[in-house]
Subunit: 156 residues, 2 copies
């Protein structure tokens, strides 16, 4: 399937009190090349392998394929992943009829908070909550695959 | 699981008449880095995604994880793979109580024939059929992941 999404930094933690769901995510990359990423993710008690293709120029559209896999096997696969493993807490927030996924990063990415909104079409309009910061769609530094190689704390 | 195997070149096509099964394999790599390969394979009418770890020094042992996936989805994933896609015909041959998988490569790997024997322990003894050639276990040029980047016809 094709995934259409836009990505933003987050200005404040006000979104936490609006969130209706919170999940724990641990993920690593078997390939962090942006032409074809291969991600292994633990999400609470479930596990997935996900392949994503190259983004379009605007960074909004991307082929994505995902399959649920055995949790214990995923833990083994994480050991094969490139440095570093990403830990984050994901908050789901509904705002004016749209769903935002907001990730608070931990460990060597402490300080980074990213919100994503999944859209049906590239030009779909949506309202911006006041905690939403600057748009970073298409900026490869905010790809999790990039962050996994170059943690936020190493950024200048 | 850990896969233990040894690999040989093949001197003649005599093995074909001894084979009890023949399958058509098309495969590509989402990552051909020998530290962690990610392979997508079509095998007759089935499809698999396979992750392999780094080999031990002798090249005999390797972590391997495989999962069957939807055929049509695998066809999409093959389009994301690195150059080049590998086509080969696999013959299963039993010889003196051991199973050999013998691959005749096609297309830009025409001329290459490789036999593999899967073993239970690294030191397990087995009889060599007369069509078996020189051992190439651990020689990375004969890894399918290497062949996928550097087809046999390009070798000097």
């Amino acid at each position: 399937m094709i995934e259409i999404e836009r990505k933003f930094l987050v200005k404040s933690e006000k979104f936490i009190s609006k969130s209706f769901k919170k999940t724990q995510i641990t993920q690593g990359y078997l390939n962090s090349d942006s032409n074809r990423t291969v991600r292994v993710r633990l999400k609470d008690h479930q596990a997935y392998i996900t392949v994503k293709g190259k983004s379009n120029e605007a960074g909004t559209k991307r082929f994505e394929w995902e399959k649920e896999i055995n949790y214990e096997e995923a833990v083994q696969l994480l050991k094969l992943c490139e440095d570093y493993i990403i830990d984050k807490t994901r908050y789901l927030v509904e705002y004016e009829g749209h769903l935002f996924e907001v990730d608070i990063f931990h460990g060597n990415n402490e300080g980074l908070i990213i919100a994503e909104i999944e859209l049906t079409t590239e030009n779909e309009k949506f309202e911006k909550p006041d905690w939403l910061g600057v748009e970073v769609t298409g900026d490869i530094r905010y790809y999790n695959s990039y962050i996994s190689n170059t943690p936020f704390k190493q950024w200048k």
